[in-house]
């Protein structure tokens, strides 16, 4: 039974290799069947892991000496999200021009690698897998090799390689100190080790690189470049914000669990999460390019997730994890439909897109469901669980501000959907390519999944995050008026303040060069070092 874990990692890689070698047509068309099997396997893992943790001894030597794959409840939820996302996105791109050899090979290898990251228990192995998946994703980002995507791809590749060098330095230091590489025995060795200064150095190296992978605020500016690349295929941006940013969150959670008894990190994670949520929203409100707007929202949503995961109460952590999974569903829906919108309207500026409601009813319904999920509408998402028990007035008002900012920037989407289709705008090269059958299927599945995740959260949450949210029907009904009230305030604020004034243009054009990003990275590393020492 545990050989499934081996299949989850090496299945897609071997399939991709044979498909790339034989170049058989039938293998390309059967790609989504294979991914359906993988999704079923990960579903089986999820239900099996409720009772006992699965593990597969990779080499005959016992753990500290050999290697092992293991699944616990945390990695099982990430596995489910990853395999479901790859199934949907392969369905979406199955007939398009992205199903030929190089692209589908890299897409399959990427799925196996990300499965491997969530399964592996060895720090050096996690470094190796992240390295390979970063190289693979850099190729996928620059698939069209046109002028802007080369600079963004180079920036993304270089800054992520610097972050992984920090990660490797932390891993090497831990090995030098404790002589062990895997997570369980490292935790034991850390438990015994007294908390002294030489322990903080490797931790801050690891923390900085995990923070950069999770696009925490000061180290965020590679993300809009990577996700918002004009020519990147929309399914690659969907994978990036759906699951690849979550690897950083996964690393932060693992680090928190690893160093829990020596250095409590959840305070730092919560503060960083709040800062990046707030700054992400301020940048997002100023954007007009649809993909950049969604990328800055990924930063703010990941910040919210980190604020939840770093929260002190169990309900906060479970709420953060649950929001992570639902974000992994509705954000790809946004990215994929924005790819279609860009093709239809021929422009990337959301203000030039008008009257989606007349053109395609289905796409607008899917977008409306996604907007309700992301802004935390009571029946569609349980974002409120993230700050449930926080009695500190400042933090609650901060969460309210972030939520209002999210609503403010998604008013642009609503304007796009419900605005009348003005005649003179329709000449802006509107080509209504009909949506293919597979694209409809994947759009519907994504919208359905994110809606069910919100509606049936009471039944799904014990399985996904083994914490059941006790929101009865009446609780959620009561929350509707306050939700609509904040929406109205956000609408009023948006209409009055956010006229395209100079400040908005300044925020939109704000960008750091590569050297400044590295300076920010080193100073972030030093600040974290002092902060942990001060804790």
């Amino acid at each position: 039974m545990t050989l499934i874990l081996y299949g989850l990692v090496f299945g897609p890689i071997i399939w991709g290799l044979t498909q790339y070698l034989i170049k058989a047509k039938w293998m390309e068309s059967l790609g989504w069947v294979f991914k359906l099997i993988l999704f079923a396997l990960s579903l089986g893992c999820l239900f099996k892991v409720q009772t006992q943790t699965l593990s597969l001894q990779l080499t005959p030597a016992p753990l500290p000496y050999g290697m092992m794959l293991s699944v616990d409840t945390l990695s099982a939820t990430f596995l489910i999200l990853n395999n479901f996302l790859f199934l949907i996105l392969t369905l979406f791109a199955s007939k398009g021009k992205y199903s030929e050899s190089v692209f589908s090979f890299l897409f399959l290898v990427l799925q196996g690698l990300i499965n491997g990251i969530f399964l592996s228990t060895d720090l050096f192995n996690i470094y190796l897998l992240i390295e390979v998946s970063t190289i693979a994703i850099s190729i996928l980002i620059m698939y069209k090799k046109d002028k802007p995507s080369l600079y963004d791809g180079m920036f993304y590749f270089a800054i992520n390689m610097v972050a992984m060098a920090f990660f490797l330095f932390g891993v090497v230091m831990l090995y030098k100190r404790f002589g062990v590489l895997d997570l369980f025995h490292l935790k034991e060795a850390l438990g015994e080790a007294s908390r002294n200064k030489s322990l903080i150095l490797p931790l801050s190296f690891l923390f900085t690189s995990a923070a950069l992978k999770a696009a925490v605020f000061p180290l965020y500016n590679w993300l809009p470049k990577a996700h918002g690349i004009p020519s990147a295929p929309s399914i690659v941006s969907a994978v990036l914000s759906g699951i690849f940013v979550k690897i950083g969150v996964y690393l932060l959670i693992r680090l928190n669990m690893l160093f829990m008894d020596v250095i409590p990190l959840h305070g730092i994670i919560m503060v960083l999460g709040l800062i990046s949520a707030l700054m992400g929203v301020t940048f997002a409100v100023a954007q007009t390019d649809i993909k950049l707007l969604l990328s800055y929202h990924t930063i703010s949503q990941v910040g919210l997730i980190l604020a939840g995961v770093g929260g002190s109460l169990m309900i906060n952590q479970a709420g953060g994890l649950y929001h992570l999974v639902s974000h992994g569903l509705f954000k790809p829906l946004f990215f994929v439909s924005s790819g279609i919108l860009i093709e239809w309207y021929g422009t990337r500026n959301i203000k030039d897109m008008q009257g989606l409601w007349q053109r395609s009813r289905g796409l607008s319904i899917a977008l409306i469901i996604a907007i309700l999920c992301i802004t935390g509408a009571p029946f569609f998402s349980i974002k409120t669980a993230i700050y449930e028990g926080q009695d500190n007035l400042f933090i609650r008002s901060l969460f309210l501000l972030i939520n209002m900012g999210t609503m403010m920037s998604f008013i642009k989407f609503l304007e796009m959907i419900f605005s009348k289709n003005r005649a003179e705008l329709s000449k802006s090269g509107f080509v209504s390519r009909p949506i293919k059958k597979e694209e409809w299927l994947s759009l519907k599945l994504l919208a359905l999944a994110s809606a069910t995740l919100g509606l049936f959260s009471r039944t799904i949450s014990p399985i996904l995050v083994n914490y059941s949210f006790e929101y009865t029907f009446i609780d959620r009904l009561i929350k509707w008026p306050s939700y609509l009230f904040t929406f109205v305030i956000a609408f009023v604020l948006y209409k009055t303040f956010f006229k395209d004034n100079k400040l908005i243009k300044l925020i939109r054009k704000f960008d750091l060069t590569f050297n400044e990003t590295n300076i920010v990275l080193v100073s972030f590393f030093f600040i974290i070092l002092l902060w942990i020492d001060y804790l």
């Binding site: 050989l3 071997i14 044979t18 790339y20 070698l21």
Partner: protein, 128 residues
Amino acid sequence: MSDHSQLLSRSIGIIYPIILIFGLYVIFNGHVTPGGGFQGGAIIGAIMIAKYLADPIPFLSLEWTQSVEKATLLILYVLAALFCIVTTLQIVVGHFTIFLILSNTLIGLKVACGMSIIINRFVYYETR
């Protein structure tokens, strides 16, 4: 690089079999003496540089080398699956040295193909 020196190409013509033998030696008894798949493959890859220095005419067909490389990686993964099944089912298969030598040669072949592809790409394509 058209005016390649006669001296260089003559001497490399003599040396490269020795490099090849040394590379193969490093690969094959990687489990006894220091060395192994990666190091031996890199040495054999160095022959490509020597070949380019001798006479800069592209002779390696990249597609063929690339498919050889992918085939070796595939065999390596099948071998790995075999290794995992053998260890989980505790079938004792005598000495493991056969397995070590086999995977060393596969890695050596793969790294040699990989290095030669990279060198050829950079030398014949990137500089144009």
